[in-house]
């Protein structure tokens, strides 16, 4: 292994990272997960911990860029140079940059999330067979409404599992069109458009009008990228191939290697390359963002390139599905930071009191058509037939090691008041806190000990006082626990939240079975009984809660007050006399948890 000259390394263990922007090649939650797993590769063999923050004060800044992207080390278009990173230190040191002219995948081809259909949002499976024909991209075949779809298994003819592919016919992203789909044709500067366009923009993003007349209504949205058929690199990235196209006088109706010496498949994005010279590379397996990130984070922690071809720190990319770390990598990183401390054995401690449980042998409580299904993130939910869980089992109330000390956590995944305890969730664990008991904190407990179906990373949670149902949100999925009985994961669509809502960042119960659900700067009124939001109730945080930051990542209610969290801080809002007013700002750990 090699380290940088002078053994450059971090001199603290709790490393922070900030994902500054995103590639359009992968869904954002897949990118977040890939980076989190890439850091976990290193935290598994060192005392280091990695915490995500949302600002430039982070130790490691992660950025996607093309060509010259601001550091004097330009990227080189598709293939060749994939990414680079700087050794530990202040400023740009420790940062990792990824070439956005590459096609970022998980190493096995494009990842296309689906919407609606019957596959619960599972990604497309390419290739898939439909009526005996093989497809390696979304298709409108078999549909009269021209909406692109795909199979989520290898064989649609036998499995019948399908979903719709991202398409401007289904929705748009951002802009001010409220996520509505494009309206074609639409009029822009007097001209009629029947497809998305980059006209009028200098950043190259494809957009459309969400009404028939943009000149008049000024309502627009950005068109989802069709990664399954869009080209990368070349001079028209993001555009779809046009078949057939003319190249050197010959007609091509599939991607071709003709004219290239490097063997990469390409296509034209207009019908005549000889005339228009518009082209790009066709989708291929792409590069695994997880593996490349794990390599670059090795640099960001102080490792230089290795000469061992099987090592993660060898400079050349090669795809593997096995554990990425080689012995050489482990020796190198432990030379800098030492091994991961083993947890110390602890004496048994008193059993915490158990929450009320529902008899586990009752019938399934979900309607047949709502039977919990395997979501893209996990196995079928255990449901009521799982073993009864009488609260956290065996977890000590004394932290096992410093990394589990709640006072060391900067930012929590979610905070919610459940059964009069304030619960703090973080990376698969949670703590319980109650002011009433002399500000004692209990935990950490394993989330899965109490709520087996839940994923490791939560976005928010709330308990409905009337029905005692507890709702948990993660990405675009929701779980509803009533005692130990669970319904979910279900998609947010079932609650009436459209695909543009990528996560639920918080909830404020309003009484009477109504709860405000928040997603970044917007919120909706949710009816706990019907379990749907009222689409007309959409509101803006900025207007309704003046004074709180706009990029809060967790919102919860505690003892009748609303808390808006951003980074390590909270803004407390008092709603006396129908006026929302910030009446306190403080640290979550110092002012709520009273950490020393």
């Amino acid at each position: 292994f090699q380290t940088f000259e002078g053994d450059l390394k971090w001199h603290h263990r709790d490393i922070t990272y900030w994902i500054q922007n995103y590639s359009e090649d992968l869904p954002r939650d897949v990118i977040d997960d890939a980076f989190a797993r890439a850091f976990a590769v290193w935290s598994a063999v060192t005392p280091l911990t990695f915490t995500r923050v949302y600002g430039p004060e982070a130790d490691i800044l992660i950025q996607f860029g093309v060509r010259e992207h601001g550091d004097g080390y330009p990227f080189d278009g598709k293939n060749g140079l994939l990414a680079h990173a700087f050794p530990p230190g202040p400023g740009i040191q420790g940062d990792a940059h990824f070439d956005d002219e590459e096609l970022w995948t998980l190493g096995k081809g494009v990842v296309v999330p689906t919407h609606f259909g019957n596959a619960d949002g599972a990604p497309c499976h390419f290739p898939f067979t439909f009526e005996g024909r093989s497809y390696s991209a979304c298709t409108t075949d078999g549909r009269s409404d021209d909406t692109p779809w795909c199979s989520t298994t290898a064989d649609y003819d036998t499995d019948r599992r399908f979903g719709f592919c991202p398409s401007e016919k289904l929705y748009t992203q951002d802009g001010n069109g409220d996520g509505k789909p494009c309206v074609f044709p639409f009029t822009f500067e007097g001209r009629s458009y029947s497809t998305c366009t980059t006209d009028g923009r200098s950043d190259g993003y494809r957009w459309c009008s969400t009404t028939a007349n943009y000149d008049q209504d000024k309502l627009f949205g950005f068109c989802p990228t069709r990664v399954d058929s869009a080209v990368t690199g070349g001079n028209s990235a993001g555009e779809p191939c046009v078949f057939p196209f003319i190249f050197l006088g010959k007609q091509y109706s599939t991607c071709t290697r003709e004219g290239r010496g490097d063997g990469h498949l390409w296509c034209a994005t207009t019908s005549n390359f000889d005339r228009d010279k518009k082209w790009g590379f066709c989708p291929d397996q792409g590069y695994s963002l997880f593996l490349v990130a794990a390599h670059e984070f090795g640099h960001a922690l102080g490792l230089d390139h290795s000469s061992v071809p099987e090592a993660l720190m060898y400079p050349m990319y090669s795809f593997t599905e096995g554990p990425p770390l080689h012995e050489d990598d482990v020796k190198g990183i432990q030379h800098l930071y030492g091994p991961r401390p083993e947890p110390q054995p602890q004496p048994p401690t008193a059993q915490p009191t158990a929450p009320p449980t529902v008899c586990a042998t009752g019938p399934p409580t979900t309607r047949p058509s709502e039977r919990p299904t395997a979501g893209p993130t996990g196995p079928p939910a255990a449901g009521p037939t799982g073993p009864p869980t009488a609260g956290p089992s065996e977890a000590p109330t004394v932290p096992v090691d410093p990394a589990e000390d709640i006072c060391k956590v900067n930012i929590f995944d979610a905070i919610a008041e459940i059964r009069n305890y304030l619960h703090f969730f973080k990376e698969g664990k949670y703590w319980r806190f109650s002011k009433g008991k002399g500000r004692r904190v209990q935990g950490p407990f394993l989330i899965t000990d109490t709520w087996p179906a839940l994923p490791r990373k939560l976005d928010s949670a709330f308990e409905d006082q009337l029905t005692k149902k507890t709702f948990f949100f993660s990405g675009r999925q929701v779980w509803v626990y009533t005692g130990t009985s669970v319904v979910g994961p279900r998609r947010l669509d079932k609650l009436g939240l459209g695909p543009e809502v990528t996560q639920v960042t918080g909830a404020l119960p309003q009484g009477g079975g109504k709860v405000l659900l928040f997603s970044r700067q917007r919120f909706w009124s949710f009816d706990v009984k019907t379990q749907t939001v009222d689409p007309r109730s959409a509101g803006s945080v900025e207007q309704t809660y003046p004074g709180v930051p706009l990029n809060t990542h967790d919102i919860f209610q505690y003892q009748e007050k609303a808390y808006f969290c951003q980074d390590r801080f909270y803004w407390r809002v008092n709603s006396r006399n129908e006026v929302n007013q910030v009446d306190e700002v403080g640290y979550v750990t110092f002012d709520i948890l009273q950490c020393p």
């Binding site: 278009g77 140079l81 001079n235 004219g259 010496g261 390409w266 640099h299 050349m316 990319y317």
Partner: protein, 87 residues
């Protein structure tokens, strides 16, 4: 038997590094990843061979000092942009 047609190589607009000769590719690669310094860039075979030998040793390739097929393939492989040698 039909004769394989000679592949036509086209300059694609917007693409960097098109149609470099093997030697040009090697010189650019050795310089970018720290194996040669500007001062050493010259036409004599020695400097190129020295740089190639350094690279072959560093990347655990057969040490020939020659711009052979294995070395060229390595230079065309997708990789990390951090230089292999130097600061």
């Amino acid at each position: 038997a039909p004769r394989p047609h000679k592949p036509t190589v086209v300059v694609f607009p917007g693409e960097l590094r098109t149609n470099l000769t093997d030697k040009e590719l090697a010189e650019e690669y050795l310089f970018r990843y720290g194996y040669t310094h500007v001062a050493e860039l010259s036409n004599d075979k020695q400097s190129l061979s020295r740089g190639l030998r350094l690279l072959q040793r560093r990347l655990a390739l057969p040490e020939t000092g020659e711009l052979d097929k294995t070395t060229l393939e390595a230079m065309r492989a997708p990789r990390c942009g951090v230089p292999d040698l130097g600061k």
